[in-house]
């Protein structure tokens, strides 16, 4: 087989990229026409992925439209993210880790900086659904303001969202309107706090310091760990 001659693997992905790109653009256009102003942001990586940020009020409608309107029948997952960096900074890292390549950022930078498709709030809910016929996936995002941590539930549309929303509720404290029963799913019934929020301390680290050693492994063709820091700096 010609594969034995390793590196010259034929690269013929150009056409495919353009194709799926068109599909995603068409999809984005459809969502924009259907939801109108509710689409407040989007991000498209050609040939790879699509993010759509919708307004909180349109969250449930967006899910319903994706399922019934454009055939995204497959519910993949639903979760949330806390964009406010941890107030504990990097003091949970080991000293070794700090010295290697993270000196300047060791002071806490509390600026909230949202990821792709933008955002305005500390918390964002995101979910992913798939169109298994055309092999497309889309990640939906929605801002959830701090003063009212609630958003519409997807359970009436995607039954599988039930447990994901329960997990999201207990981990971030975001409640889902219309959910049949928001109860703890992983944590014991009386648990207080929302562990996945960034300001929730990781107690294991605070009680017992992390021994911490950066994985520096002998690479083929390298001399030794002495030039580790240089390589890291060169990479930046």
């Amino acid at each position: 087989m010609s594969r034995l001659s390793s590196i010259d693997t034929p690269v013929e992905e150009e056409t495919e990229v353009v194709e799926s790109d068109e599909a995603r653009e068409a999809l984005l256009a459809k969502i924009q026409t259907e939801l109108g102003d509710a689409v407040v942001g989007s991000h498209l990586v050609p040939g790879a992925d699509l993010w759509v940020r919708v307004d909180r009020s349109a969250w449930a409608t967006a899910g319903a439209y994706l399922k019934t309107g454009v055939g995204f029948e497959y519910f993949n997952f639903l979760s949330a993210i806390d964009w406010k960096p941890s107030p504990f900074g990097r003091d949970m890292d080991a000293q070794v880790d700090l010295s290697l390549g993270h000196d300047e950022a060791s002071e806490v930078d509390m600026a909230i900086e949202q990821g792709v498709a933008g955002g305005d709030t500390r918390f964002q809910v995101f979910a992913r659904v798939n169109d298994i016929v055309n092999g497309l996936g889309v990640t939906l995002k929605a801002d959830v303001p701090d003063d009212d941590l609630s958003i519409g539930s997807w359970v009436p549309v995607y039954s599988g969202a039930n447990w994901h929303e329960r997990e999201c509720w207990e981990m971030y404290g975001i409640s889902f309107e219309g959910h049949p029963g928001l109860r703890h799913i992983y944590l014991p019934a009386g648990f207080e706090g929302n562990p996945l929020r960034k300001d929730y301390p990781l107690l294991a680290r605070r009680l017992k310091p992390w021994p911490g050693i950066v994985d520096v492994e002998q690479m083929p063709g390298d001399d030794g760990p002495a030039d580790a820091v240089e390589t890291a700096e060169a990479a930046e």
Binding site: S6, G115, G160, A235
Partner: protein, 390 residues
């Protein structure tokens, strides 16, 4: 004169009334049965609270979290290479497959691509962990419906695959072998011939299981028509892997979205079954193991030469961005949504594990079945507790 249809209607009402009287007289109180957290049918510490009427389940509510380890939080304070140690423990019978999507997501963010040889070896180990995982299922499914011997056969023949994984990676259960930009080491000498022998043994194991279980009338009676999942329900619950393919959905991430792995260069087939019942799920998994052994054979034959590691910096800092990569793991689709802020550690890792979605259908599926069928259904959905509780 009453018409015939009216008389039928009246007699029906009378019969209903008589039934109702009897039912009121012998009405019994329901019983709540706690299945688990320590119970042989739950593969760990899953607990199912079942409300029973006699032996029929009225409502079932799975309760988990007895083994929740908080990997999503822990991953936020670990460097990227350290995270693989954690995620190895998610699905602990097919560990290598857990590492792959995370590493691929990190590579996607860093815009690094593993050299061809690394991608091929990754695919070999990925498929071998599938064999190790599902062959356990094939034995365990027999155990769930009462046949003890297949489980021993499964452990016996799974050993051949585990030995090969150990020979290549040094770890039987938790290889921790995948690296950003490639894999840790090349394969040892003589490994390929030995692997092909192991695959032959796995194929004969599949034949054995086919004879012992699939052709057994009692097994069929216990599994056919039990726990039927229609395709649309399965999709809206996010079922994946063999569970959704057994409902007739022809969807396999390995074929439809092969990012980073080389499944598309092989000659193989996605198996589906139209029935959607426990038997179909068993059957599809059995075929998948066979298909995997063929894939491993092809991969061994066509393994390209070259380096197994791309040029990556020593201290891995992943550029800011978000990426989601999913692969078709033994239990179903497993994905990692990695958010990076250009740091040593990921900012957020959302682990989309297959069993969490697969088992979320149980409250719907267990309604109205009999107690023995709970075990069949849980067994055929096939979950690993670490994959639910993360």
């Amino acid at each position: 004169m009453t018409a015939i249809s009216d008389r039928e209607q009246l007699s029906y009402i009378a019969a209903q009334a008589a039934d109702a009287r009897v039912n009121v007289e012998i009405e019994t109180e329901g019983m709540t049965l706690n299945i688990g957290p320590q119970h042989p049918a739950t593969h760990g510490t899953l607990r199912i609270v079942a409300k029973l009427d006699g032996e029929q389940v009225i409502a079932a509510d799975p309760i988990m979290g007895y083994m929740h380890r908080g990997y999503e939080k822990l991953a936020e304070v670990r460097t990227y290479p350290q995270v693989t140690t954690l995620i190895n423990r998610i699905d602990w019978v097919g560990s290598f497959a857990n590492e792959v999507p995370f590493i691929l997501a990190a590579e996607k963010l860093m815009d690094v691509e593993a050299p061809p040889r690394a991608a091929w070896i990754r695919t070999i180990l990925f498929e071998m962990s599938r064999i190790a995982n599902i062959s356990l299922f094939l034995g365990d499914m027999g155990l769930q419906v009462g046949a003890v011997t297949p489980a021993f056969f499964a452990f016996r023949d799974r050993e051949h695959v585990l030995n090969q994984i150990e020979a290549a990676t040094g770890g039987r259960f938790h290889p921790n072998f995948d690296r950003i930009g490639g894999i840790k080491d090349d394969l040892p000498a003589g490994w390929i011939a030995e692997t092909k022998r192991a695959m032959k043994k796995i194929r004969s194991f599949c034949d054995e299981i086919e004879g012992l279980l699939q052709g057994n009338e009692i097994f069929e009676a216990r599994c056919r028509g039990i726990g039927v999942i229609p395709a649309d329900v399965g999709l809206s619950y996010g079922l994946s892997g063999a569970n959704i393919r057994a409902s007739g959905v022809d969807w396999d991430t390995r074929r439809d979205n092969p990012c980073g792995l080389v499944h598309n260069e092989l000659d193989w087939k996605v198996w589906t079954h139209p029935d959607g019942d426990s038997f179909a799920r068993f059957w599809v998994r059995l075929q998948e193991v066979r298909e995997s052994t063929k894939m491993v054979d092809q991969l061994c034959d066509g393994l390209p030469s070259g380096p197994v590691m791309a040029k990556v910096p020593r201290i891995i800092k992943v550029p800011a961005g978000e990426a989601y990569v999913e692969t078709e793991n033994p239990l179903g689709v497993m994905g990692y949504y990695v958010v990076s802020k250009g740091d040593l550690t990921p900012y957020r890792v959302k682990i989309r594990s297959a069993s969490f979605n697969n088992i979320s259908i149980t409250p719907w599926l267990l309604k109205g079945v009999y107690v023995p069928d709970i075990v069949t259904i849980l067994g055929s959905l096939y979950f690993i507790l670490g994959d639910i509780d993360r």
